[in-house]
Symmetry: C2
């Protein structure tokens, strides 16, 4: 029973790690599409999100089967519940990558970003891909230190987001209202992507401590 | 065993209904604070969110205890898992009300909204309070028709959001960039509040049908 529980739990973790890889790739693609104004790539990111949804459904079914057949208790139960929450978070990360891709599609053939902001969004994209990657490692290892590092990295995303908001709110913003609104929403999509990675990592790692109340999970919603 | 399962499940549902009432009140307060530029009320909404977090932790602990002690299977298991997801959604709805309140606080003593948009935000606030209320009823009744009605009502929120975005993207928007960005983010907070209510209602109601894959849950993230 313990062996089969571990094996099935590993199966759930594998699916979650696979989901993290999918949403990391989605965010990489969405950012490239944004920077290169690449409609074909944006469409591909939007289309491929279906794979995240399928993986999530599979992950949930496995978690449900585990609960029903193995009736885990105590820490084992918390680990399974954390996996259910994690699947939620990763699916939302995928949706946020899709939101970035949709913004590119909506403005095409015009580019969304003013040239001087491209560097900052390239940076946001790169860090978010790293966050997805680290989230996968946290799922594998349930390493509290790694979860804390992930939250630290996310602070860089938050700082970039705040900086972008300050830029477009400044009186000498030269690009008009529509571009400012697009940029503010895009920036928030990256910020939320990071928040979900933090939420996932903390919940996943902190089941180790046995605290039923997860620590503050970053700004949710 | 069945009786005690039902009783404990009712306890979880009671907490969820209580959470819906709290976030409905939060959104009502946040909207009033926004419309009246009322800093004290905005602070109260921000402060009171702690009650939602406590209720959510209580709700989760009860759900975990139920899983550990009763080891439910099949539909009973799905109902408990749906409750865990629902607690997530309602907590996020509370966070979104807080985001609205924080926007008011950030701009105070200046009002966030141009006068001519006040009516539309009053409307958004009112519908979102109704959505929180209907979500509570869906938790009580698991009524598929009610869940579908809730999704219909949310379409009004989506339409108001789209309308607001069109207004502030139009070339004759007279209020400048900073106000446009604030309004677009506020509008999105209401839209997301509605999406979470829909997600909760569908997940909660559709456990009845026994479909392990919930129907499309609105735009998540």
């Amino acid at each position: 029973m313990r062996d089969s529980f571990r094996r099935e739990l590993d199966g759930v973790a594998d699916r979650l790690v696979g989901m993290c890889e999918l949403v990391g790739a989605a965010m990489r693609g969405a950012t490239m599409a944004l920077l290169d104004n690449d409609l074909v790539l944006a469409e591909k990111v939007i289309h491929d999100d279906n794979r995240v949804d399928v993986a999530r459904a599979d992950c949930e079914e496995r978690a449900h089967a585990l609960l029903a057949l193995q009736a885990p208790v105590a820490r084992d139960l918390r680990v399974v519940i954390a996996a259910v929450h994690a699947a939620d978070s990763v699916e939302r990360m995928g949706d946020l990558a899709v939101h970035v891709a949709r913004t590119t599609r909506r403005r095409h053939p015009n580019p969304v970003l003013p040239t001087e902001l491209r560097g900052r969004f390239a940076n946001l994209g790169q860090i978010c891909v790293t966050l997805a990657d680290t989230a996968a490692q946290v799922i594998r290892t349930r390493d509290l230190v790694l979860a804390a590092e992930l939250a630290d990295t996310d602070n860089t995303v938050n700082a970039l987001h705040s900086g972008l908001m300050a830029t477009l709110m400044s009186p000498d913003w030269p690009h008009g209202v529509a571009t400012a609104v697009d940029v503010s929403q895009l920036s928030r999509f990256y910020e939320r992507f990071g928040d979900h990675a933090v939420s996932l990592a903390r919940r996943t790692a902190y089941v180790v401590t046995g605290d039923p109340r997860p620590p503050h999970l970053g700004r949710a919603a």
